[in-house]
């Protein structure tokens, strides 16, 4: 029973991280890759006795120092006999050991040779079909007169409100994988009109790992993550969420892209070759993006947006017109050396758009006029010295602007980890595929110092937190001047017996934003303050029943006068009978926020591989019900219904998304077949 619960620990952790990520970036992305990877990992566990760094790196939630620690341990003391030997390695505490148990095995190490014929036949195929739809009629789907559409062709969506995802994948021990994906978003046409090719988005990949000298190869859609992300990090990175008291996530080199995110991926191919302690990666990509100057989906024609669009939505004639009208070619490479206590790498990326940009923007974008061609290079290094881990990367763009990040991780005692991260990104640094630790959404115009810690205060109490101080040397959107800010975060976790876990957290953020004053012609800056407190409980009082309860409040002080509040309370229940092949999970939530700014994010129960972390705002209640039915081990069905009912408004959303009513309901269905 205990074992059966454990994969949940990491899932829970992932939930928290994604929740936090969304809260910090407001990006709604497809996180399925992460869940898929965890599932694959629990099926093809990592042998801790492996002497292969690449094999251990599959435990992607470990950082470099921890992987190095495992390798050093087996090199010095031979094979692990028990997983609890991990406690002897710096950077491993009992929380982390508990987390990784479901994903590791301990068996004598022997180098495995891949037999191609086996790899092509004995893997697992899977097919996923997913359907979802908003039940209420949104503005974009209401009937419209031809005369209206003649004047305003973008007043309605072209397609149906159905969203459809079809996915096929093959996996042999995470070593050989391939996959296909097709997606139609709500509002897009399907096998007709503007979408004669059927779905709006197609993606495919073939991926191999550990094939002799070829450490990795990928063809099709993929991600590339190197160093600390200043030059190349095309996948997800969790920013602050990923590193409380620890270190940034480990760069994973080339990995396949199996998600339906229509941005943040590379398309082409790449390969990593291993030569002794060196690894050399080269990869190329050519993707079509949406860009242009046009009226978007709103009813007003004056709303003009320029530059790249990254929604991946093609629902109206104008959105379709913008589709794939600019191309980005990426050629990049990385070389890195890995020693026992030292690691260094060099990354270079050239990015070329096939059209020049013509930006009309505000002053805040003065130093971020997109270039047609970019050439960025960066060097990164890591040193592992006893209780210290030092890492850094510095990058230079084509015009000589620099960006640098440096971090130290110090573990003076197994119960205490300290972290310091300093970053300094030039206001004019510009690189398309940068994605590194930052407060801003991009890697530019920021200087900051982050100090974090994680401490085990008692066997059952863990305290973690950070303070982050940042400065933005140049203007930002709605910030007419150089500005500064700070953020504090404190979280206390309690392990209450075997079946209950609770945490309390507090977050404070202060950032300067524009305030307009009638007496003054110019905007001036005001330090806007934001507090957030949350308490959360997960408990399983009975074998078949799991519960979660949360209450959370946010307090927003956007100017010297106003003080606004947001509140969310919810109760989750999961019933997983041991004798029946079903599980039922549900939520009831009450929320009440003074405005959108006090919104609260919460992870929601969803279909497997589908993560939702929506914002709760305004005033109302929400129900969620998810049913899972397993016909047998290989065939599973899910059904999800969610409905929000608002008590303070009778219109929901804006533009074509608007619902003329006070409720918004969504239905989702999914089938996964493995063979």
């Amino acid at each position: 029973m205990l074992m059966a619960q454990q994969p949940d620990t990491l899932m829970k952790n992932l939930e928290y991280q994604i929740e936090w990520y969304v809260e910090n970036t407001e990006n709604e992305l497809d996180y399925s890759e992460l869940t898929e990877e965890l599932e694959q990992l629990s099926k093809n566990r990592v042998n801790l006795n492996s002497r292969e760094r690449d094999e251990l790196k599959r435990l992607f939630f470990l950082n470099e120092a921890q992987i190095q620690g495992i390798l050093a341990y087996t090199a010095n003391y031979g094979d692990f006999v028990s997983i609890y030997e991990l406690k002897a390695i710096p950077n491993f505490d009992s929380t982390l050991i508990r987390k990784i148990i479901p994903f590791v095995t301990i068996s004598p190490y022997e180098k495995q040779h891949l037999k191609m014929s086996e790899a092509l036949k004995q893997g697992e195929h899977s097919i996923l079909l997913r359907y979802q739809r908003i039940l209420e009629k949104q503005e974009g789907y209401l009937p419209a007169d031809d005369s209206l559409l003649e004047v305003k062709p973008n007043a309605r969506y072209l397609g149906s409100p159905d969203k459809i995802l079809v996915k096929y994948g093959y996996n042999y021990k995470s070593q050989i994988r391939w996959g296909l994906l097709a997606e139609k978003d709500a509002g897009e046409e399907f096998f007709s009109g503007t979408q004669k090719q059927g779905f709006d988005f197609y993606s495919a990949y073939i991926y191999g790992r550990d094939l002799g000298k070829v450490h990795r190869f990928v063809l099709g859609d993929y991600h590339a993550t190197f160093g600390q992300g200043l030059v190349m990090w095309s996948g997800l990175s969790f920013g602050k969420a990923g590193i409380t008291g620890g270190m940034p996530h480990t760069a994973r080199g080339l990995t396949p892209s199996s998600s339906s995110n229509e941005i943040y991926y590379l398309r082409g191919g790449g390969m990593t070759i291993g030569l002794g302690n060196f690894e050399i990666s080269t990869f190329a990509s050519h993707i079509a993006l949406d860009a242009g100057i046009a009226a978007l989906d709103t009813l007003q024609t004056n709303e003009i947006i320029e530059g790249l669009r990254n929604t991946g939505l093609h629902r109206t004639p104008s959105e379709v017109a913008l589709s794939k009208n600019i191309h980005l070619t990426t050629l990049a490479g990385n070389i890195n050396y890995t020693g026992d206590i030292f690691r260094a790498g060099f990354t270079i990326a050239s990015e070329n758009f096939d059209k020049a940009f013509d930006y009309r923007t505000g002053l805040y974008n003065l130093f971020q006029q997109p270039r047609k061609s970019q050439l960025t290079m960066g060097a990164d290094a890591s040193v592992y010295l006893r209780d210290f881990v030092l890492q850094g990367e510095i990058a230079r763009d084509i015009d000589g602007h620099l960006a640098g990040i440096f971090n130290v991780n110090f573990q003076p005692d197994p119960r205490l980890t300290l972290a310091l991260i300093y970053r300094n990104y030039d206001k004019a640094f510009q690189n398309y595929h940068s994605n590194a630790f930052s407060e801003n959404s991009g890697v530019y115009n920021e200087k900051g110092l982050y100090l974090g810690f994680k401490a085990s205060l008692a066997k059952q109490v863990e305290l973690s937190g950070y303070a982050d101080y940042f400065r933005f040397p140049w203007f930002k959107y709605r910030v007419d001047g150089p500005s500064k800010g700070r953020e504090y975060y404190l979280r206390m976790d309690f392990l209450l017996g075997k079946n209950a876990h609770a945490y309390l957290r507090y977050r404070f953020e202060q950032k300067e934003i524009n305030i307009s004053d009638e007496d003054r012609k110019l905007n001036f800056l005001f330090p806007k303050k934001f507090h957030n407190v949350r308490m959360h409980f997960d408990y399983q009082p009975l074998v078949e029943w799991k519960f979660a309860s949360r209450a959370e409040a946010s307090f927003n002080h956007p100017n010297a006068v106003d003080s606004r509040m947001g509140f969310l309370i919810y109760q989750d229940i999961t019933w997983k009978p041991t004798r029946l092949p079903i599980s039922i999970t549900g939520r009831y939530a009450l929320f009440d926020t003074d405005s959108y700014d006090e919104r609260l994010y919460a992870y929601e129960q969803d279909l497997l591989y589908s993560f939702s972390v929506p914002a709760y705002y305004y005033k109302g209640q929400k129900f969620i019900l998810v049913l899972k039915y397993s016909l047998n081990k290989s065939l599973n069905f899910w059904l999800r219904f969610a409905s929000s009912i608002y008590s303070d408004r009778d219109e929901i959303g804006t533009g074509l998304e608007m619902i003329h009513g006070n409720s918004r309901s969504e239905i989702k269905g999914q089938l996964i077949w493995k063979f």
Binding site: G497, A551, F567, I569, Q571, L590, Q621, S647
Partner: protein, 261 residues
């Protein structure tokens, strides 16, 4: 007077939580007791004997704002049934809630309960009555030996008694913890949200001494108030008295007794 929080007027729908909980400034979501039918039906499961109880609470010493309640309960069939009624207001306007609750122990330290509630809005002078059925669900879970968590949800379907907007029954959702410092001393904290008013944080502490006495005190963030009270326990009888105090609005005395058969 006109500045009274609206929530104070519709509090009749919360039922009566008993003078013991009121002396702690809480609803009692993580407490178990004879009034649990209104505050969290899961709490009834801890009652081992049949009982009958009465309670009266007066708000701000205004006759019109009087809350009265009656409750009887019986342990049967491995669970506990409770039947309670509350009346808030006067003959011209009153909010009444009648509650049939059933609660059962399901695990070593896990209790759950459900109630069916009839809400009745009664207006005098020929305006007539309007009533509707709704329900409540609750749980009490021991997180460890000393810590108990209570959660309660009332009226998630948000019934409306008539076309009149004022007759909508609010949703109540509460989450609370009870921590036992010793067998004589414990504290409770809860977060209560009523869909019509602001969320409140409420906390209270109770100390049992001299075998027969309980001393209680508590504070609430919305409306900002505090409370105190004393209980006297005999073999069959429980007698509680207390008062809530709001700095602007004044005193809310309450009194009640329970007889155990």
């Amino acid at each position: 007077m006109l500045n009274l929080p609206l929530g104070l007027f519709s509090q009749g729908w919360e039922g009566i939580n008993g003078p013991a909980a009121a002396s702690l400034s809480v609803s009692g979501v993580s407490l178990s007791g004879e009034w649990s039918g209104f505050s969290n039906p899961a709490g009834l499961a801890l009652i081992s004997k049949a009982y009958a109880g009465l309670a009266v609470e007066n708000r701000f010493q205004m006759k019109e704002l009087t809350l009265k309640g009656i409750s009887i309960g019986l342990p049967v069939l491995g669970g506990v049934f409770g039947l309670s009624g509350s009346h808030f207001g006067n003959s011209l306007y009153s909010e009444q809630r009648y509650n049939l609750a059933y609660s059962k122990k399901l695990g070593s330290s896990f209790y759950s309960g459900i109630s069916i509630d009839y809400c009745l809005l009664s207006q005098g002078k020929g305006y007539g009555n309007a009533g509707g059925l709704t329900f409540g669900v609750g749980l009490l879970a021991g997180l460890n030996e000393n810590l108990l968590l209570g959660a309660y949800l009332f009226n998630p379907i948000k019934i409306r008694l008539s076309e009149n907007i004022q007759s909508e029954i609010p949703v109540l959702m509460r989450l609370g913890l009870l921590y036992k410092f010793t067998s004589q001393l414990w504290g409770t904290v809860e977060i209560a949200k009523n869909s019509d008013s602001k969320a409140a944080v409420q906390m209270g502490v109770e100390y049992n001494a001299f075998q027969h006495f309980a001393f209680r005190a508590g504070v609430s963030s919305w409306p900002g108030s505090f409370a105190f009270g004393v209980g006297y326990y005999q073999r069959h009888l429980k007698f509680d008295i207390g008062a809530g105090f709001h700095p602007d609005l004044g005193l809310c005395p309450q009194i009640g007794c329970i007889y155990h058969f």
